[in-house]
Symmetry: D2
Subunit: 261 residues, 4 copies
């Protein structure tokens, strides 16, 4: 399917503020970006770099006053998410080098603390994809998805304590559980067609059967329409925008995903 | 200035043909891409990667029949090319690691063969920017710019032997001369506003005074309007398209650069 | 000064166990490795890779039974650690791309939680090196250095709660405080000459005045003799060994640092 | 087998001369470095970096006077080189991204000029390993291996014209022929046990059947004992030492390979 995604952000800036933006989806195995717009108002000097996760990031200094970022992309994505019941666990020794860092604990995914819980959730399941599916199902049925539970990222330990969270929180807990089973897992931030209410979304991927697969505990069934923008170990690595200095929260954030033709 | 660049390529494919495309300008210090389109007809699966020079490359298999690539970009570039008479030569030991490979001879820039010629061209000039400017002037006044001199890249040695060449050939000779003086130099392929006749263009950059500067022996004076698409050691690294198997030359190639607003 | 460092580890392995070792100091700005030994008993197949922090890592499967790693290195390091009172804070926009990730919160350094504390510790100090020195002094005088306080890494928040910790814990808190001031900071694991009792050590580096500087809250005064082995955002990234599957703690760990000549 | 390799180089330096050394074999799939020495006389400041081919390189400024580099390594390598008759050609679309650059023409391997010759040499052979073996055999029986034919690298075109060359020259021609068939190929510089006379050696690798295989047209039969030091597209990328400024040839070069135990 072809989707038109857009995200407009407006900030009220008081002092010149360094920003790192990560709003540029990349063409890859899963999607093709046929058209993209990326405007800043006012226009300022920008430099772009690729971070160690492969994300395209833009650095700039936002000047005082209203500062707006407008992005639009026309993207072709799969109609269905790939699913692979039975896809096997990959032995550590056979993981590609670049996947190894997704086994380690990270800011919001304290995988060193979840070994027993993960074992208990996945008991009786085939090693690999089926374990991750069991974790996703457990999250969906156990942790309450509460879109009002707050803007500040909390870690897997805290999510488990609260028993509720936003999409990012459920993903953090899912990632921590996977890693504690030696399954590489990463956070994805992006768009999802048909989200209600529409906003930026977060889900997770796990590496089984020799590739990354998509998991999302917030959806009853996995349909297509996922448009990844950024990848990372957790929300500390993947932020649609990072700013430094006195905080400047967006005064408006407008996200849309439409089906094209 | 804001420019709209476009390049449309159509191929007549006889057997399924692997392509690597490099048609996606990146936002960077020198330019900002505010809007981009990148369409394929027919649409095929594509994966994108970043090569070791930082270029965004797309891999695909073109199916038999007509195969077209349409690209458009709205780009903000400087009104003037930065020039820096007097900018000093950078001692080898102070060059950033990632610049070192631009000192080495490469397929079309046999810098190991041009030491004496480079010394003689630049005698009496300050080390650094002024040496490169002397090389650029020498190229402009010595090597005939002949846009009909052929499609097949030839190396600096051959360009020097023929005393004529297209933009790419003059750049190869300029790069070889710079490197023989231990000045890092690289080939740039891209668009140039106001080119006559309009086509994709090639120029070169040299690293002096702590950064890359633009040089172009085909233009009487350096104005703004340069839109880099790809960088590399020479034309072997930077090709707008690379294909493998039986050659499929473009049956049409349409390049435009317009001033916006 | 020339130092001979060695670290011998012996494990009692019950099932074939994947390991990632990080015991190979690299020659760099700060040190030169003139001689190195790296033996495994029994010898097994090993592959080496460089992680995203530049560390040389070795992957292998330890077979059941006793498994030993013997490493020796002859290293030249500075007699004195570089210190630079007054070295300025580097504005975010001037940080090199590869340093940016050291500004983000990480598993054991929840820098998003320490903004006010860091401001209060560093009040009245020049921005940059002097702020970090104030943090180091504050750690030394406030958090009790307790080498028996446990093997499991705890995070900066927990260290602050306990008010005591091992070298790694003090470093984690120091890093979190630096990052909350937008000063990049990273964990270093390695050897320190004259440590009492001798063991592997951990300290931290902060990026001010255009380069990384060494800080160590466990030492009354900073002398030379630091031999870095690995760098990372925190202990989740830098582990002398990482193993997967049922834990196999070292049954012996023998660390030595001698002065040569 | 366990080998002790050593290479000692002495230069007579007249003016401070920047060097880039590449004398440090890396532990990898094919070999394990159990012990290494790397001494400089006089000792000077060195920084180490990894180039885009994965080689460990050292940068330094050699001071006027005698300057010596002493390297020793104890290495475990396979007793036999892997051979794989029948290993298939890998379709371009299935090559890993990082292998693609080994398909392009380079300074000394003008693969764009050898398409017909390569087709004729390999006619009747299975696509893949068997084609490369046919090229290796053709080189061995056609191009005279002449260890006195000169120190200056010459390109594949020139080697073919002369019909003779050193190990590096035969490899360059072999690489050019492979690439013209869309088989990735790269130059390897290193040690070979039992070479007569003993010196640094060069051979080539081709990527078929999903991995790199070793080929060497200078040896009647491929035995084990190969110790790679550096990899690259050709001799422009892989030089045991690169120096800049007035040339300082080694006044002595002493290479040894002994069998241990």
């Amino acid at each position: 399917m072809w989707l038109r995604t857009s995200c407009d952000l407006t900030f009220d800036i008081t002092v010149p503020t360094p920003f790192i933006l990560m709003l540029r989806p990349r063409s890859g195995v899963q999607q093709w970006i046929a058209r993209e717009e990326y405007r800043l108002e006012p226009m300022v000097g920008v430099s772009e770099f690729t971070d160690s996760y492969g994300n395209l990031c833009q650095r700039l200094i936002a000047p005082p006053g209203a500062f707006a970022v407008y992005t639009v992309a026309d993207v072709r994505v799969a109609d269905q998410v790939d699913q692979a019941p039975g896809a096997p666990f990959v032995d550590i020794e056979n993981l590609p080098d670049e996947v190894l860092s997704y086994l380690l604990p990270s800011r919001y995914c304290e995988s060193d603390r979840f070994g027993e819980m993960a074992a208990s959730i996945t008991v009786g399941h085939l090693l690999g994809y089926d374990q991750v599916k069991a974790i996703e199902t457990w999250l969906r049925t156990t942790i309450r998805y509460d879109i009002d539970s707050g803007n500040i990222p909390v870690s897997a330990v805290e999510v488990h304590f609260r028993q509720s969270g936003v999409c990012r929180d459920l993903s953090h807990l899912g990632i921590a559980l996977c890693r504690s089973l030696s399954i590489p897992a990463r956070l994805v931030v992006g768009y999802l067609y048909h989200m209600e209410p529409m906003d930026l979304h977060a889900w997770f991927e796990a590496y089984v059967g020799g590739r990354w697969y998509t998991f999302d505990a917030t959806q009853v069934s996995l349909n297509g329409g996922y448009v990844p923008i950024g990848y990372g170990r957790d929300a500390a690595d993947v932020a649609v925008y990072n700013q430094f200095g006195p905080p400047a929260y967006p005064i408006s954030q407008n996200v849309r995903v439409e089906l094209l033709g």
